[in-house]
Structure formats: C-alpha cells, structure tokens
Assembly symmetry: C2
Homo-oligomer: 271 residues x 2
C-alpha cells in the first residue's frame, strides 16, 4: 500500500489506528488458554471485531517466536486472516549487515508478504537499504521509543548539539523518501513531536505507547499530525485484553471504537 | 556454559573460533542446491568437519527466517546437531521493550535452548535486562560492528567527548557482569581495540569480520586478548563456502584448521 492509498483509507475510515496483535498465550481469555488453536481463534475474533475501525495491523513477532516453530505457523495463518486492504506491519526490529538484511527482507516481504517491517538503526545505512529495494514495501525505523530505556542512548546529546534520535531521523531521511520510510516515535514522547516534525515533516510516524503505556492520543495528534495525517497510532494490550472473559471480542471492538471516535475528533480538529 | 568453562575449552582446543552457520541456500554446493534437505545435509557435514577446531557455533537466524516456517524447523534440527559442549549463539540482533524482550528470551533460551543471543542496544536498559535473568545464558550486545554503516551512528562524538559505541560499552557494562554479557566488536575495527579494552577489560568480545570482510586475526588477537583470552572470533562465509564442489566439508575443515593454527600461535604470543 503506498502513501496516498494509506491516506485515502484513513479519511475513509476516519481512523489512523493500528491494532497490535501482540498475542500473549498466557493472557488469552480463560476458555481459550489451554487450546492449541487458542491464539488463532483469538486473533481471528479480534481481527473481525476491529477491521472496520483500523487501517493497519501490526504483528509483534516476538510473541510468535516464543512458541518456537509452531509460532511461525501461527503467524503465517494469522497473516492470511487480515484483509488485504490493511497495511500489515511486522514489528520485528531487525537490523544487520547487508547480506543478512537482504535475507530478512526476503523473510518478511517475500516469504510472509508483510507490507512493512520495523528496523533498528544502530548498524547504519547498509543495514537499512536492503529493505528499501522494493518500492511497494515500507521500512519503519526506530527513532524515539516509548520505553524508559529510550533515555539511555536515544536522548544522548551529540557534540554537534543534536540529540542522537534527531541525528537518526535526519540521516535516515536521506536514505529513503516519505513514500517508503516511516519512523517509530513513542506516544510517551509527544512533547518532542514539534521538533521531530521539523526534521521529518512528511514522513508517517508509527506511534506505540497509547493505552497500556500511558501516552496521550490527543497530544500525539495535536503535535504530530501533518497534511496527510502522517500518523499510525498503535494500540495492542488495551484492545486485546479489554476483557478476559468470553466477551473479549466485543470488548476489543468497544475499545477500538472508543479510540476511533477520538481519532475522528482529532482529524476534525488538526488535519 | 560459563566464562571459566569457555576459557578452559579454548585452552584445550587451542582455538577461540566460532563457526557461523549463515547457511544461504543459493550458495550451497551445486549437488545440494535443489534438495529440500540440502541445508541440513550441508550443516551436518560442516559441523562434523569443524567441531574439533572451534569452541562455538553461531546461527544467523536471518538465513533460516528467509525460508519461512520451514526455515525455523531447519534451525531447530541444526541446533540438535551441534555438540552440547559448544557455546551456541543465536545471531538474531533482537531488541524491544520489556515484555517483548521477555518473549524473545523465552524464544531463544527456552524454546530453542541457545546459550547466547546477540542484542541491539538502541532501546536501552529495559530492552536488555530480560536476557540477563538466567545466569547460565549470555547477552551479546552490539557495540562496534564490522560494516560500513557502523560509521553512521556508532562513531558519533558525544558532547561528553566519548564516541557513541564507547558510551554503549560503558553503560551496558553496568547492567551485566563479564560472566553474562559479551560485546560484538567487528574485526575491521582492530585499531580501536586498545580503547575498547580500557572500557571493558574483562568481557568476552564476539568478533565477526575476519575472512570475507577482511579483518585481521593477528591484529584482533594482539589488541583484544585479555587474561582469559576474552575473544570469540567468528568466521562464516570463508569456511562455509571454501569450496562449492562435493569436497566442501574437507575444504571447510582445511579453512577452519588454518584459522585454528593461527589462533594457536596467537595464544602463545599474546595470552
């Protein structure tokens, strides 16, 4: 899906919500917890309950890898359940030297036909470039993450005066255009969005951290929205585990609807 | 395997070689290239040919992920072929927020019983800590990598005067002791090893980049060795693809032997 198509979808659904399928088997509703097919039943119900309210799904590969080989099969099956008009993101945070990055691009873009992959920037340009070879696919680079540990290195002040994450944004924006690259910026960092928008005015930002991690949808939208919206806000745990009972899908839908309604208001106010 | 056991093994085999099983199906010997079990036959022969000459094997997960679900099965089967007295490293360069890092630790240390995992440092302390929960397992953090892209961010000068990779070493060394943490330092960066050893004198370093990438075994050993050797030098492509003919295993053994013989000399000179 290209940038214009994504923008069009956002306007149509009045939503820039990405639903994170970080499905943790230990947090499934009780009646599904000990069924081997529990994760798939759960994911299917969540996708059906939320698809009218979101433009994207994000699969956090860790939760599937944690189930070993069987987990990769579940990921493959989950992928097939997602409607083709959604932007499907592998949240895998890969990053390695050129020939290895090439193999990861093959894994996620060809073997598993994801539309986008999250990537760690530490190894630099040649670790990112292989993900930009296919113009229909997106590389989503970590810039400023939502966790406490983001303070350790991302916020270090460089000799030139910039912070490390600012340098990452600035440099990476020369490797790939806003048509192919996005950046991860945690919702807990909303106060820094005006600075970030000065460096990357046109790029989409993938924003985790609304919900369970405490970031504000209103603040992110106010300071981060650009002329083509430019935001995908992810919610995972707050939707997936809205109820631990048999009504989990309805509860997930209600939570997604609440977010979508707030997004509709933000679109009216800030777009 | 703990640090003392690793040191003992190195002295016994007179080798600090780690053989990288970055098995690329397109580079298999011709007679194995189109067999579905080709990768497994190849890995088995390489392991048998090299196990007397190395103390560790490193599986680069990208090359297995690139084969989809079938690739994870191959990784699982390859793991079972490796003798239990070797340090088995998953070169997966993971890194994510706490609950996700926890899931990756489960994937690599429990589902797949690796001894060690490579980790990207960009997301900071809470993305690394979950890998240190089990005292028998190792976290191997990227510090200064062997590729061109290492110049982009790792070599940035901070306001405090240090380079970013030096700060990563310094900070991360406070999170885990030399008994549980190693650092990746590319062999192409041998000139910086004296500085690195001032920051982390006691830690093992995992050193890729000898062989195909052009780093010098002699220089790495001269500047990087500590009192317990403190080096695992990885070679992948130079061993795996020493011959593309039916004699690939013998050729791999000959290449590994050449490296081991050089290591024996370095141990005599620098330990």
């Amino acid at each position: 899906m290209n940038k214009t198509a994504l923008y069009t979808q956002i306007l149509q659904l009045e939503s820039y919500l990405c639903v994170g399928l970080d499905t943790d088997p230990t947090r499934l509703p009780t009646h599904l917890r000990h069924k081997p097919e529990g994760i798939l039943i759960f994911n299917k119900a969540i996708i059906e309950a939320t698809q009218a309210l979101c433009v994207s799904y994000k699969i956090n590969t860790a939760f599937y890898e944690a189930q070993g080989t069987a987990g990769w099969e579940m990921m493959e099956k989950t992928l097939k359940m997602i409607p083709k008009d959604k932007l499907i993101i592998a949240d895998a945070k890969r990053g390695d030297i050129g020939n290895t990055a090439q193999a990861y691009a093959q894994a996620f873009f060809e073997e598993f036909s994801f539309d986008a992959l999250t990537i760690a920037p530490y190894m630099g340009e040649d670790s990112v470039k292989p993900f930009l070879a296919n113009p229909d696919k997106w590389a989503i680079l970590l810039a400023l993450t939502s966790n406490q540990g983001s303070q350790d290195f991302q916020m270090l002040r460089l000799k030139t005066g910039e912070l490390l994450y600012e340098k990452v944004l600035e440099k990476a924006a020369t490797w790939g255009s806003a048509e192919q690259m996005m950046f991860v910026v945690g919702a807990t960092q909303a106060a820094l969005l005006p600075r970030i928008r000065r460096i990357v005015p046109g790029h989409f930002l993938l924003v985790p951290g609304v919900g369970a991690q405490g970031g504000s949808l209103e603040d992110v939208s106010k300071y981060g929205m650009n002329a083509q919206v430019g935001l995908l806000i992810n919610a995972s745990r707050s939707i997936l585990y809205a109820s631990s009972g048999e009504d989990y899908a309805e509860a997930a839908r209600a939570e997604a609807l609440k977010i979508q309604q707030s997004m509709k208001i933000c679109l009216d106010k800030y777009l």
